[in-house]
Each structure stands twice: as structure tokens, then as C-alpha cells.
């Protein structure tokens, strides 16, 4: 994991002092509420429906046990004993008092954490594949470049007052787990024809009101040129992105309006004029950062643990958990394990302070002290020896953290919605809970297989509903909550925006409608065919027909 040097440490401490000063000037009246708002947002502080909310950055989703313990402490002291993991690998605390926020920031700085640029019209916290450094299909670990971008984008003098927020995601693997096609910038680590490692740069993806899939703006950028290229691209956006309408201010709209060829030409013209040697990080700096992400010292283990099979036979629940929550590790004898934060009927992404401490302890015992936060609002222990899996499962079970549903239908992504969010038009958490209860049966979940349901409480799409295999968007119609269902969305390298199936539903109608979609899949699928593959093959028509059926499907 990356560790702060004296410069990083000083920078983060100075950011806390600056925020203290900003709060003081706001209270003095030197700056107005309108002027203060972007300042607090750039430090992750929102004013929600009932209270402030502080969003803490977990850069590219990597956390140490030590850091997670500090988050537990903050949850217990300043929230109501909970933290809430978000779809951008951050954690939110829902009940801090404004006066306590500088102190929370101090506590974060004590463990090399911060809330810098988790909100506001600036370059946001950079996200990456949660299985970085673990996945066998990886060309290179994406975290060093994500860390370089984190540093470069922090308090950027030119790009801190952008037309709109700006999100960057990085993946180093063939299979995209970082949703790079639906970010303002997506970076894919690739190799060119002679084997040199560089980046494919994708621009203009995004969800929200106008969902769009990103387009390739540069096929191959040599590694050392990254910061100069990003500076050129951001400059074009800062100068030319629309500022007359906040719904048209994201870079995707600029790319859409002028076309990718013209956008590319402008970026390349800007890039060509730069004195790159004065901007880029030198290779030694890149190597300095990369060294922190070296693999831990694994034990030499056989490819599969002989005891595992017997443990599975004796404990079907353990076996089911392994099937769903184990991810293949590049190192023989190891696995990455998803800790689901989606217990049946629970609030997606919520975790108590006590549970955080359990996860921190288990990370130290079994995973070299390392934890990952995923964009699906779960946690991962990235380096668990297969021989420890059973003990880990038992310990997680004691803390109610062994739900066997990673990637299954009850692993639902949901934004906070009307229960917390000031912008919401409908509730999303209760919909997630109702669906989770409806599909609680583990047998049935396994039979349905991989299926992502994603729920947003308004058009801002924080729940990424557009790229859910099944997406649910909560709207308000004539004072009533109304849920629009989409089908066929995909956040991976096959990125697709879901198609709307029909008129909005009431909250009560949603579980039956989703069940009809699932049953259509079960009736139509080919052997071994996943839900999303079946939707791609069949098109939406049969699902739409089932969706529109007035009579409720009689189960069984």
C-alpha cells in the first residue's frame, strides 16, 4: 500500500488547517454561504435532508486494517455507529456536526486519509479495479497510476473550478471491473505492438440525466506522457465545457456536441504545444510510487488446499459462500474474498463500527492487513490463503458478515435515496430491502446466477441504475413515488445503457415485476447462460412482454 512521505503528510495536514480556516471565515461572515458551499463540498461535506454528511476518500478502494479501525472509531464517535460504503469506493458518515468536522479530518490525517475532492466541481477521488494486484488477467496494477493521478489532481490550481464534477477510473485488467466506459475519463492499461505498457484513454462516459458510453480519445499513450496529456484534456474541457446549464456541463456533453474527432483534435493540438518535460512525473517518481504496491510476501502453497474439499462437503453453506464470494488469485494457493455488505433485508453498503473492527482484525490475521472497498458497496480481503478460508468464513459468520451473495441478485447496489439524500425523488433503500427479502432463498439465488440490480433515488444516478442488468430509477409522479425499470445495462467492457421497459411502477409493484423478468430468463436461458447474456441474445422483447403482464406471475 502507498504510504505518505513527509510531503503528502504536510499537504494533508495543511488541507485540514485550511478547512478549519474556511469554517472560521464562514462563521465570521467573511465568506457567504454560497461561497462556502463549494469549499465544503471540495472537502466532502454535504448538507443532507436531516444533517451534514461527510464523504471520506478511499483512494482506488485500498484500505489498511489500521485505517479501517480509525473509520470504526469515527463511526462510533461522530456517526450513529455506522459507516456507509458508496458506489465510488468512498465511505460516508451521515450524522457529523459541522463543528466536529475539522476534528474528524485530523483523525483521518492521523491514518493518512482525507476527504479531499470527494465532491464539488473538481477532479474526484480516483477509482480502480477492486482486484488490482490480485487478478490474473492484469497487465499491470492500476493503483500506482491512480495514486499518481490522486496527487496530481489534488488542489490543482487550474482545474479546481471546472464546469462540473470529473470522475476518473483506471483498470489494468482485460475484464473491466472499474466501469471505465462510464467515467469522464477511463484509463485502460494496455500494451502496444512492441510490448510497451501505456494507456488507452476513454473520454465522455457517464450516467446521470444523459447516460453515455465513453469513446476512445487516444489508443495508446506512453506511460511517461500521462500528466501532460491529462493537463491538455482538462484544459480543453475547462475552457470549453458548457457552463450555462449544469445538466449539460459534463465533458460527455462537450464530446457529444463537437464529436469525438473534433474533441481529439483539440486535445492533441493542446498536447502538442506543451513542454511535456516540465509537466510529466519522471520515471523515478512513477517507480517510487509503484514500489509501494509490490505484492506481499506470499507463502509457497499448493494450488489448491486439500482440506478445502472436505470442509465444503461438510458445510454446504461454506461451499455456497466460496462459490459466490471467492475470486481467483494470481498467486497459487491464495484467493481474494468478497465480504458482502448486503445481508438479506439490510441496507446496502452499511457496516457497523464493531463489524469494521472485526474486518480489520481478520485482514491482519488473514490478508496482510489489506482491505479493498468495491464499487458494488462491498469489501474485499485481497490475499487470503486457501487454507485459511474456512476459519475466515466462520469468523465472518460470527459478525454477520458471511452472506454468500457476491454478484448475485441480492447483491444490490442502492444509493441512499429519500431516506437521506436532499436531491432524492424517491426511496431506494426500502426497494433494495424488499427485493433482497423476495429473493432471499440461497438455492434460488444460486440458480439465478450473476445478476446486478442497481437502484438510484433520482436521475443523478448515484446507484448507477443505467448500467444495472436490471436498473431501478425512483422518480416522483404527482406526489407519488414511481419506479422506472430498465433492462440490459452493463458496466463492463461490454458497457451498455439499459432500456426502459414500460411505465413506472409503485414501490409495491416492483418485486413482482422483477420476479417476472427473472422467471422469463429462467424459462428462456440456454444451459450455463447468464442473465445478461440471455438479454443480449434475446433482446428486450420477451422481457418487456412479461414486464407488461397485468396479472401477477403465480410463483411455482
Amino acid at each position: 500500500m502507498y504510504r505518505y512521505d513527509e510531503f503528502d503528510e504536510t499537504f494533508v495536514r495543511e488541507r485540514v488547517a485550511q478547512f478549519r480556516d474556511q469554517v472560521r471565515r464562514r462563521l465570521d461572515g467573511a465568506i457567504t454561504e454560497d461561497e462556502f458551499k463549494p469549499l465544503r463540498l471540495k472537502n466532502g461535506l454535504y448538507l443532507q435532508l436531516h444533517a451534514y454528511m461527510l464523504r471520506v476518500a478511499i483512494p482506488y478502494g485500498t484500505l489498511s486494517a489500521h485505517q479501517l479501525r480509525q473509520l470504526a472509531h469515527i463511526a462510533d464517535r461522530f456517526d450513529r455507529g455506522y459507516g456507509h460504503f458508496t458506489t465510488r469506493q468512498n465511505i460516508q458518515f451521515n450524522w457529523p456536526q459541522l463543528k466536529d468536522v475539522p476534528e474528524i479530518l485530523d483523525l483521518l490525517a492521523d491514518v493518512e486519509m482525507h476527504a479531499i475532492q470527494t465532491s464539488g466541481n473538481c477532479i474526484r477521488n480516483v477509482t480502480a479495479d477492486q482486484f488490482a494486484g490480485v487478478a490474473a488477467d492484469e497487465i499491470e496494477d492500476p493503483r500506482p497510476v491512480a495514486e499518481l493521478i490522486r496527487q496530481w489532481s489534488s488542489a490543482h490550481p487550474e482545474f479546481s473550478y471546472l464546469p462540473r464534477k470529473f470522475k476518473i477510473a483506471v483498470t489494468g485488467a482485460a475484464h473491466d471491473r472499474a466501469a471505465v466506459l462510464v467515467h469522464d475519463i477511463g484509463l485502460r492499461i494496455v500494451k502496444d505492438s512492441v510490448g510497451e505498457v501505456g494507456y488507452e484513454i476513454i473520454v465522455g462516459g457517464g450516467l446521470g440525466r444523459t447516460p453515455m458510453i465513453g469513446k476512445v480519445v487516444r489508443d495508446f499513450l506512453p506511460k511517461r506522457e500521462l500528466l501532460a496529456y491529462l493537463e491538455a484534456l482538462m484544459r480543453v474541457y475547462n475552457a470549453e465545457g458548457r457552463r450555462d446549464n449544469k445538466y449539460k456541463a459534463r465533458v460527455k456533453i462537450l464530446v457529444h456536441e463537437i464529436g469525438i474527432e473534433e474533441f481529439r483534435a483539440r486535445v492533441e493540438a493542446e498536447f502538442a504545444g506543451l513542454d511535456k518535460s516540465t509537466i510529466n512525473a519522471d520515471p523515478e517518481e512513477q517507480a517510487r510510487i509503484a514500489a509501494y504496491f509490490a505484492s506481499p510476501t506470499y507463502a509457497a502453497l499448493p494450488a489448491s488446499d486439500p482440506a478445502l474439499e472436505a470442509q465444503c462437503k461438510a458445510n454446504p453453506a461454506f461451499s455456497a459462500w466460496l462459490d459466490a464470494n471467492r475470486f481467483a488469485h494470481k498467486q497459487a494457493g491464495y484467493a481474494a474474498v468478497t465480504i458482502s455488505l448486503k445481508p438479506i433485508g439490510g441496507i446496502p453498503g452499511d457496516i457497523s463500527g464493531a463489524q469494521m473492527r472485526v474486518v480489520a482484525d481478520l485482514a491482519e490475521r488473514f490478508s496482510f492487513g489489506e482491505i479493498r472497498a468495491t464499487h458494488a458497496q462491498n469489501l474485499v480481503l485481497p490475499h487470503v490463503a486457501e487454507r485459511d478460508l474456512f476459519a475466515l468464513w466462520q469468523a465472518l459468520g460470527d459478525a454477520e458478515l458471511s452472506t454468500a451473495n457476491a454478484g448475485l441478485i441480492t447483491d444490490i447496489i442502492a444509493c441512499p435515496g429519500l431516506d437521506y439524500c436532499a436531491l432524492a425523488t424517491a426511496r431506494s433503500i426500502p426497494i433494495a430491502q424488499a427485493l433482497s427479502n423476495r429473493f432471499a432463498d440461497p438455492e434460488r439465488q444460486r440458480d439465478i446466477g450473476e445478476l446486478n440490480i442497481k437502484i438510484s433515488g433520482c436521475i443523478n444516478a448515484c446507484g448507477h441504475h443505467h448500467v444495472g442488468h436490471i436498473g431501478i430509477l425512483g422518480l416522483e409522479k404527482r406526489g407519488e413515488e414511481s419506479y422506472q425499470i430498465t433492462l440490459g445495462g452493463d458496466a463492463t467492457e461490454n458497457a451498455a445503457i439499459g432500456e426502459i421497459l414500460g411505465p413506472g411502477l409503485t414501490a409495491e409493484e416492483v418485486p413482482d415485476a422483477i420476479e417476472r423478468l427473472v422467471e422469463t430468463y429462467r424459462a428462456e436461458r440456454l444451459p450455463g447462460e447468464s442473465f445478461i447474456a440471455a438479454v443480449r441474445r434475446l433482446g428486450v422483447a420477451p422481457f418487456k412482454a412479461a414486464f407488461l403482464q397485468e396479472t401477477h406471475h403465480a410463483a411455482a
Binding site: Q18, S154, E158, F159, N238, R243
Partner: protein, 158 residues
């Protein structure tokens, strides 16, 4: 309107927008190359200003403090080789002072009421908020990446 220099001190303005003034600050619209000082919108194409690079000052408007286009325009003008004074005109706040200087501005001209509630001490404190930041190539003193590089070089020699 109040003018703040790069040290965060309010200073008298030697330019005037009045027609026929001795040291006139003219709108870009209608100005001839050779003008002493011109005032431009933040949407002006930087290349169109090259013929005016003899001007003592170019003032760039910030219609709202959250409109960051002026930062990019200043940076582009410096890139193109403008070496005179760059002035930011608009309701900037103290927290943007360091950014403005880093992007190549030399001074800020603020609305009266705005300056009245932001005394010099606020600007001076805000300008010093970070002893060093990460970006290379901005006018901001020694950045963190270059300091690390210097430390590495020192390490190899010592």
C-alpha cells in the same frame, strides 16, 4: 475597484477605465494592437491576443468566482509568451488566490463589497495554505514532485 497585489496587499490602481484616461484600460473589443492595457472576456481565444502582447497589462474577467475559465486563459497566455501583468477581475475569494498566482496572474481586482469583507490577512493566510503542491510547471515555488526529485539526486550524490 480594490486591487490586490501578489503579496495580498491592497494597492492603488494606476489604470482607469474612463475614456481618454492617461493610463487607460480598454475593452478588447475595439482595441488596437499597441494598446497599453486591455480587458478581455474569459471566452476570448488566446491566439487572438498575441498581437496585443506588447500591452503592459491584460485583464481577464471572472463573471463568477466558480467560473474557472480565467485560470486556463491566463495559463495559455503565459504559454504563448505573454510577459506583462495579468489581472483577474471579478468576485474571487481568498481560497482562489494561490490558484490565480499559480496560473500566471499577478493581481486581482475585486468588487468593493467583496474586498470589504475579506481583509488582507485573509488573502495572505490563504495564499500560504499549502507550503507545496503536486503539480509541476505552475508558477508556485518548488512543487512536491521536483522536491522529491531533488532529494533523490541529493541521495545519489551523498
Amino acid at each position: 475597484m480594490p486591487l490586490l497585489d501578489r503579496t495580498g496587499t491592497y494597492i492603488p490602481d494606476s489604470f482607469s477605465r474612463e475614456a481618454g484616461a492617461n493610463r487607460a484600460l480598454q475593452p478588447f473589443d475595439g482595441a488596437e494592437p499597441g494598446a497599453l492595457a486591455i480587458e478581455v472576456a474569459n471566452t476570448t481565444a488566446p491566439e487572438s491576443l498575441v498581437p496585443f502582447f506588447g500591452a503592459e497589462m491584460i485583464a481577464i474577467g471572472f463573471p463568477a468566482y466558480a467560473d474557472g475559465r480565467g485560470f486556463t486563459l491566463a495559463r495559455r497566455l503565459r504559454h504563448l509568451g505573454y510577459t506583462g501583468t495579468l489581472r483577474a477581475v471579478g468576485p474571487l475569494i481568498a481560497d482562489q488566490f494561490a490558484y490565480a498566482l499559480a496560473c500566471g496572474f499577478d493581481e486581482l481586482e475585486l468588487p468593493e463589497a467583496h474586498a470589504a469583507r475579506q481583509p488582507e490577512s485573509h488573502w495572505k493566510t490563504a495564499a500560504r495554505a499549502f507550503s507545496a503542491t503536486y503539480q509541476r510547471g505552475y508558477a508556485r515555488g518548488l512543487n512536491i514532485l521536483d522536491q522529491r526529485r531533488a532529494a533523490r539526486a541529493g541521495g545519489t550524490h551523498g
